[in-house]
């Protein structure tokens, strides 16, 4: 099923995207993953399922999310027009809810009563805890100890929603190890428990399924821009952790040859230092968490710890469809450092009154650079994947905004 024969790049079914993807998993989990894949195939073709999800989007999440033009911010981007797809305005504050509601409905369909999830920034954990509350499911969230500290507000939110939050103290104590621990737990509880995976990575069916659940972002935005401007954007920009918000906004534009797609990877201290999370730019193909994709790894195939100020982008791998899109040249992947992202976060806050998540601020930093290349005729669509409430403590420390002696989380 090569892409060239299909003609369209949209909605590729997996398990492979070119050389990437697959289902490299312990046998203990194969039955559950196969069950999930089969249930998803059925649900995808079931109008009742799609209608129920659409209704949740409308009456619970608040979709469609709006598009906001940000001219005062765009003044710093060479005058190109910049539009933000406002996933930050979704219930729970990020795009993660789009995927979670789909997978929560699927959990009910396969008759499981408990969900587990990993989380980095805490946004996927919050969304999962939220859906668990809504559907009356038991919920346990795995989160690296480092992330429980830098996203403490989200830990409290998850607990308030009734979820158990487990702080993972093995390995790098971030998202990668939270996924490892969630897998270990899933092996033990798979009969009653569904794993709601938070990004477009991992084994089949997750990359294709999460993409499908997130593709509402791009479908809406494409229509909104066509209606508002009568044209498509020149560039679509999104940050890339595992890749779900990026593939979610890219998918609708994949067959629009005139629209350039940019994924922005977290460059931490810089891609030439040892502290970054730029898997496509600086990694090479390998297998982690069930799929073959670009991966930060040493010569021996040991995973290298990633680094980013943003917990949601602090992951040494990337979803397989992005690896494929990078190789065939359909999307470009650029780095943004911690410092560039934080500067973009401050700039959007001050010029437009919108405080973005640090993850999304990486996309904004990319848009500033891309805008300067496009010039004043350019139109850029940025996925503002989340809001910055959870990051205020980090920003406060970065910009020295706290009064001496004030209590900080």
């Amino acid at each position: 099923m090569s892409a060239s024969i299909r003609e369209s790049l949209r909605g590729l079914p997996g398990p492979f995207f070119g050389d990437y993807g697959g289902r490299f998993m312990p046998e203990s989990l194969i039955a559950a993953i196969d069950e999930l894949a089969a249930a998803y195939e059925q649900a995808k073709a079931d109008p009742d399922f799609q209608a129920e999800l659409a209704e949740l989007h409308r009456s619970y999440t608040g979709r469609p999310s709006i598009v906001t033009e940000v001219p005062r911010f765009a003044d710093h981007a060479g005058g190109a027009r910049i539009f933000l797809k406002r996933e930050d305005l979704n219930h729970t504050g990020s795009h993660k809810i789009n995927n979670v509601l789909g997978q929560a409905l699927l959990t009910r369909r396969i008759g499981k009563t408990r969900v587990i999830a990993e989380t980095g920034a805490g946004q996927h954990g919050v969304a999962t805890a939220t859906a668990a509350a809504l559907f009356g499911l038991d919920c346990t969230i795995y989160m690296g100890e480092v992330d429980t500290q830098r996203q403490a507000l989200n830990v409290a939110r998850m607990r308030l929603l009734g979820a158990e939050v487990i702080s993972v103290t093995t390995g790098s104590r971030t998202l990668k190890d939270a996924i490892n621990e969630a897998y270990r737990e899933w092996v033990t509880s798979v009969e009653t428990t569904n794993y709601i995976f938070g990004t477009a990575a991992g084994p089949h069916p997750f990359p294709a399924m999460v993409r499908d659940f997130q593709s509402v972002i791009g479908e809406e935005a494409r229509e909104q821009l066509l209606t508002h401007l009568g044209r498509l954007p020149d560039a679509v920009v999104a940050c890339v952790g595992g890749g779900s918000n990026a593939i979610g906004i890219f998918d609708a534009f994949l067959d629009d040859a005139g629209v350039a797609l940019y994924g922005i990877e977290a460059a931490g201290d810089g891609v030439d230092t040892e502290k970054h999370a730029a898997s496509i730019e600086r990694g090479r193909p390998g297998i982690l968490h069930g799929a073959r994709s670009y991966l930060l790894q040493d010569e021996d195939g040991q995973t290298i710890e990633s680094h980013s100020i943003s917990a949601g982008l602090d992951y040494p791998g990337v979803g397989p469809e992005h690896a494929f899109l990078a190789d065939i040249g359909r999307a470009s992947y650029l780095p943004a450092t911690d410092a560039e992202a934080m500067e973009a976060l401050r700039l959007l806050s001050r010029t437009e009154g919108i405080i973005p998540a640090i993850e999304s601020a990486h996309a904004l930093a990319g848009a500033l650079r891309i805008g300067r290349e496009l010039g004043p005729e350019g139109v850029i669509l940025v996925n503002l994947s989340g809001r910055g409430d959870k990051d205020v403590a980090t920003a406060g420390r970065w910009f020295d905004l706290f009064d001496d002696g004030a209590v900080q989380s």
Partner: protein, 257 residues
Amino acid sequence: MSGVADALGSGALIGYLPIGFPDLETSIDAAVALVDNGVDALELGLPYTDPVMDGLAIQKATQQAIEAGFRVRDVFRAVEAVRSRVDAPVLVMTYWNPVVQYGVARFADALRDAGGAGLITPDITPDSADDWIAESDRTGLDRVFLAAPSSTDARLAETVAASRGFVYAVSTMGITGARADLDAKARALVARLREAGATGTDTISACVGVGISTPEQVAEVLGYADGAIVGSALVTALADGGVAGVARLASALSHGK
């Protein structure tokens, strides 16, 4: 080179230890000590950063090995050193990415040249292992895939057909680590593997691993399976009591045979 099947005759004790823990030389001495104390076949673990099927005891040991500078090439040195001192077959237990990065063909050649018997691969299944199946056929190495209580009958048949050496029956739905009681699922899984064609050394053997830590449990498992695999308990014994400690536990376990 000797395959593992020959060692499984009348109920085998198989011992796991990670290579490079607490250091390369001690891990070699400890592996030799297992065989000197009644262990019939060895499973040497390749330390990996993301061991999703392992519990805390093995996670800690393998992480320590990596921090102490373990390199994948040490595997071949360790296998060769162990094989020069004892006659028991030596399998390597490895997550898949280190093999892919080394090169599957190159890894298979080096393992065979070192006298290794084959690989146990916990995070890939036969349907995702075309390259390994081809390379193990070329080199004659054993390939041990895992079967789980959750496996469907069709998958058990596929796993039995694809494995060589033995099929690794995971005793419980869980990760490695000592358990007080062995899951009844283990016995049921072995019965299903027998149905699927793993009837013993004349076809292919079924060995049970995960959770086994006492001579009584070894005896219980060998009542219905062809081999009992002990891991975490040996790792803990090595961590706490050094080579002498792990030798004592091996000797005690072998009384369960």
